[in-house]
């Protein structure tokens, strides 16, 4: 024992490095076929599918912080597909289906748990919206139905059916709704990608994008200039800042979104419950903590500070839904900066720069789209710019052609 300690002590390499799940290259190559800017869930998923389905492994993921340390770690880990438009439902349904098999695929537990998601209606207008969403969902093979207050009571006995002036009139019960450990999703993708030869460079910040004749030829990082065949940005929260370096504007405004978690209590809530009228969504993690969040901040800001007024609002609404939560203590609170688009759909695909691809506009719906986004963006990159049908409606040009994909009703505060 003392000798082996001495041997390790004198060794230059950390002894476990060579067997690590996540190979960590120390040198940047001078050039890569594909550079992925942003090492969050989306970035590593794109790399994973590029390597797995297209055999493209001369790929670098450049991450300014650490793997999955941005919005991947800040979302509330809800997976659902009960959106409003056919375009949205088709896209998110495919994502939900892919999530189901990820643990097997990675040989790594992402703690996927299909508990169902319940959205509450407090007005007749919301009921009408739910009817439409239930039908669209069923049409595309999802399991979603409109349920009445009696069924809601049976499903969630702890729920207050008469919160303030807004009695619960019905609910949209989305049986496909699920949750998973968000960090594990990023780790699983990163492991799969790096083991196939992709390089993940953490603490590597892209400071500028070098564009010549409307083509990206490389990026300038804090570790030097790296050339590339093409590049993709997956930095939701800061998309506009990076796009500005590539020389164009995005239809995005950045807002903070705040969330909180309580101390753990014994399991009482299987489902994820949200109410768009109360601007609140509540779920219990497998550790027993109650995670809840609400709408975005009322005005844009690149800052993850928390504000007392938003916290008070959110707490008031959470307690209206589940009154016993008034006795719980808060464990922590946090915020993430979100890319909000005016139609609440992402901005994906081609950009005004020829070989520069966009994975942006992920507002509050990014985590649940991780697998399908990775897969379709990989298809787009591998084909050299042929946009897959599934993501064609989300092209940035939709704003110039007035073809927005309106998901506001199905998105606002019902993550």
């Amino acid at each position: 024992m003392p000798f082996s300690l001495l041997k390790y002590g004198l060794n230059k390499d950390y002894p476990f490095e060579q067997h690590a799940d996540l190979p960590t290259p120390t040198k940047l190559k001078s050039s890569y076929d594909v550079i992925i800017i942003g090492g969050g869930g989306h970035g590593v998923a794109i790399a994973y599918y590029l390597a797995k389905y297209h055999g493209i492994t001369n790929v670098a993921i450049l991450e300014k912080g650490y793997l999955g340390g941005g919005n991947t770690a800040r979302n509330t880990a809800v997976i659902r597909s009960n959106y409003m438009t056919p375009e949205g439902v088709k896209f998110y349904s495919e994502s939900v289906n892919m999530f189901k098999n990820l643990s097997n695929e990675f040989d790594f537990n992402i703690m996927y748990s299909q508990r169902g998601q319940l959205t509450l209606a407090h007005t007749d207008a919301a009921i009408r919206g739910f009817r439409q969403r239930a039908e669209v969902s069923k049409h595309f093979g999802g399991k979603t139905e409109l349920i009445d207050p009696q069924q809601i009571k049976e499903l969630v006995p702890t729920l207050n059916m008469n919160p303030g002036h807004l009695p619960v009139l019905g609910g949209l019960w989305h049986m496909d709704g699920a949750t998973a450990r968000h960090d594990a999703v990023a780790w699983g993708y990163a492991k799969g990608a790096t083991q196939r030869g992709v390089e993940l460079h953490q603490l590597t910040e892209v400071q500028d994008i070098i564009v010549e004749n409307n083509k990206v030829v490389g990026v300038k990082t804090n570790r030097g200039i790296v050339k590339c065949g093409c590049a993709v940005q997956a930095v939701a929260g800061h998309s506009s800042l990076l796009a500005a370096k590539a020389g164009f504007k995005l239809p995005i405004v950045s807002y903070p979104l705040q969330a909180m978690v309580t101390q753990p209590v014994k399991p009482f809530l299987d489902q994820m419950v949200s109410s768009s009228a109360l601007h609140c969504y509540v779920q219990q993690t497998s550790r027993g903590e109650i995670v809840f969040g609400g709408g975005s901040d009322p005005y844009p800001l690149y800052n993850t500070r928390s504000t007392l007024d938003l916290k008070e609002n959110l707490l008031a609404h959470a307690i209206e839904m589940f009154p016993f939560m008034a006795n719980l203590r808060l464990l922590r609170q946090w915020a993430g900066v979100t890319d909000m688009t005016s139609d609440y759909s992402p901005v994906m695909g081609l950009s005004p720069v020829d070989n520069y691809y966009l994975d942006a506009g992920w507002g509050t719906w990014g985590f649940k789209a991780t697998p399908i986004c990775g897969k379709t963006m990989a298809d787009l990159i591998a084909s050299g710019g042929k946009v897959p049908e599934l993501i064609a409606p989300f092209a940035m040009d939709r704003f110039k052609e007035f073809r927005q994909v309106n998901e506001m009703g199905a998105t606002a505060a019902s993550h």
């Binding site: 506009s240 800052n303 005016s342």
Partner: protein, 100 residues
């Protein structure tokens, strides 16, 4: 609570105000292309730094302009819209145009 100084009503709680977007130059609505108009309506610089923004004091329906840092949330200055907008923009079609 955070305080914002309304040019009409003085210092008030930020919850009384509504954000109204960046102040950008409006293209000539009679002659611009659809793409230019879309750019004006939907696209945003969304940068970090001091930005000129539209704000509304909701209680009095008073629109004004604020210069705010979008990274630190510091409100540098608030002032009346008349400092920037001092010419009338005619949206109603003129009689001669209406005929054609």
């Amino acid at each position: 609570m955070k305080i914002m100084v309304c040019p009409l009503n003085g210092p008030r709680n930020i919850s009384e105000f509504v954000y109204g977007g960046e102040v950008t130059e409006m293209p000539d609505h009679k002659n611009c292309t659809d793409a230019q108009w879309a750019d004006y309506v939907f696209f945003s610089d969304n940068k970090i730094g001091v930005v000129r923004e539209w704000w509304l004091h909701a209680a009095t329906s008073y629109w004004f302009i604020a210069e705010r840092h979008t990274g630190t949330d510091e409100i540098v200055r608030t002032y009346s819209t008349s400092e920037i907008f001092n010419k009338r923009v005619e949206f109603t079609p003129q009689p001669a145009e209406a005929k054609s």
